[in-house]
């Protein structure tokens, strides 16, 4: 059967990791290519890069990072952040990324999803969704609202409705981030993840709140997620990917154990 995927997420600005990552001998790594290689060797099933660069010069640096990552690791990786046009997608994909992800850009311009899917195939287009828990209302019947611009702007769009709409428009996968759980390291938002993961037929990656291996086991079983995004818990070496996978294996959650 299909394995559940464990996916480290790396934030990049102007071609550098925004937070150093501690690895062998406690060396701090600031180069995204080195970090990607380390996680590849540790058994990451995929890698997500989130580019928070603002300038166009920074974007060119990111394309070079993507090219060097593609020459170094031989697992799928995706790149998100500031992708507004099919041309932006093309540059990243031709540089070697398997997938691109769109978030605020897709909310502001939904046809972008279909244009990307037609140009490169649905499997290349990931919808990034930032979601906050709200009071259930006629506008947000699921009790979850889509927020954009890093959680600063409420859109009035119901999260479950948007997930289904994006599936219809052609996204191949959803990366679902709970703004409420993000950064807490106290566990994923299980209720939200389960709602979206069982509400669509495409794979859902759970994001936000991972601190302990138990959190992954929980979101991959009760939360019905197909994959789990992790950041601080591995970046600061509190845990390692092989350790997380061994724990999941002992809990009966199947992941890729040979690499």
């Amino acid at each position: 059967m299909l394995s559940k995927r464990i996916i480290p997420c790396l934030d990049v600005r102007d071609g550098k990791l925004t937070k150093g990552i501690k690895f062998k001998g406690n060396v701090d790594i600031g180069d995204p290519v080195d970090a990607a290689r380390e996680y590849y060797e540790q058994g990451a099933d995929e890698i997500v890069f989130y580019d928070i660069t603002a300038s166009s010069e920074g974007r060119d640096i990111m394309i070079d990072v993507v090219r060097r990552v593609a020459e170094t690791i031989f697992i799928p990786f995706s790149v998100g952040g500031g992708i507004r046009t099919v041309e932006d997608m093309r540059r990243v994909i031709l540089a070697g990324a398997e997938k691109i992800s769109v978030n605020s850009e897709a909310v502001n311009n939904p046809p972008l999803i279909g244009e990307g899917a037609r140009a490169f195939g649905s499997q290349c287009v990931v919808l990034g969704m930032d979601v906050k828990k709200v009071v259930k209302s006629p506008k947000t019947p699921s009790g979850y609202e889509v927020v954009i611009h890093g959680g600063r702007k409420y859109t009035g769009i119901d999260a479950l409705w948007w997930a289904k709409k994006a599936e219809e428009l052609g996204v191949g996968e959803i990366c679902l981030n709970s703004i409420d759980a993000d950064g807490t390291q106290e566990g994923y938002e299980i209720e939200l993840t389960s709602l979206i993961a069982t509400g669509v037929r495409i794979p859902v990656i759970a994001s936000g709140g991972a601190g302990e291996p138990e959190h992954l086991a929980d979101v991959l079983t009760r939360g019905h997620a197909d994959a789990a995004l992790i950041a601080s818990m591995v970046h600061y070496r509190t845990h390692t990917i092989p350790e997380i996978k061994s724990y999941l294996d002992a809990q009966g959650v199947k992941t890729r154990m040979q690499w």
């Binding site: 299909l2 394995s3 697992i75 649905s122 794979p203 197909d226 994959a227 040979q258």
Partner: protein, 212 residues
């Protein structure tokens, strides 16, 4: 030199990067003369069968690939490249394909389930392949190795003997085919870490003989 067939079917540079990493000289090409001159051919691809076949025919690559397989050259199909090797695909309202291997390509049933739970389509992610016999291209893989898949359609060869590797996803489907000098895989060896690179390295050294 290894020729990687370029027929505008998705981004195929990842195959080229993997071969470069392995130190194998290769060329991405749609030039018939170059495909004929190559020592081996890799036939990759991502996308839909209908458009792929139209592109292959427009470039006369359909006949070249069939001829080179018949001539005994080692050929490796990957993903969509594997699918269009069959007689036809259910994709795009039944697309007539190359017909090099008797059989067809089917869509995963809408009601695909595992233990009662509805499974996601496409089949996306890492899964195991059970190999039924030994073969030079699939030798030296670790026990329980997994490979990266992304697909909604799967190959169904007429003769199950040609299916050398099988994978479970709600149903058991053929993930690897070996028939004389042709090997073809539904997964992406270029995105499957060390075991995938091992398959590519094996292919680069393979003379086209089958172990059977």
């Amino acid at each position: 030199m290894i020729a990687i067939v370029d027929y505008r079917a998705g981004n195929i540079t990842s195959v080229q990067r993997a071969l470069q990493y392995l130190g194998e000289p290769c060329e991405v090409t749609n030039d018939p003369a170059m495909l004929r001159a190559a020592s081996r051919i890799i036939f990759p691809g991502v996308g839909a069968a209908g458009e792929a076949m139209a592109n292959l025919r427009a470039g006369r690559l359909d006949t070249i690939i069939a001829e080179e397989v018949r001539a005994g050259k080692p050929v490796l199909g990957i993903c969509l490249g594997t699918q269009v090797i069959f007689e036809y695909s259910e994709e795009n309202d039944n697309t007539a394909c190359l017909g090099i291997v008797p059989g067809r390509v089917k869509r995963f049933p809408a009601d695909l389930r595992d233990n009662g739970r509805l499974l996601k389509i496409p089949h996306m992610g890492w899964n195991q392949v059970a190999f039924r016999r030994s073969h030079p291209v699939f030798q030296g893989l670790p026990e329980g190795a997994e490979f990266y898949f992304v697909h909604s359609y799967y190959p169904a060869p007429d003769d199950e003997q040609w299916g050398i590797g099988w994978t479970d996803y709600g149903i058991r489907f053929c993930a690897a085919i070996a028939r004389k000098n042709l090997v073809a895989v539904q997964f992406h060896p270029e995105k499957s870490g060390a075991p995938g690179l091992k398959i590519l390295a094996n292919f680069c050294r393979w003379g086209g003989e089958d172990a059977q």
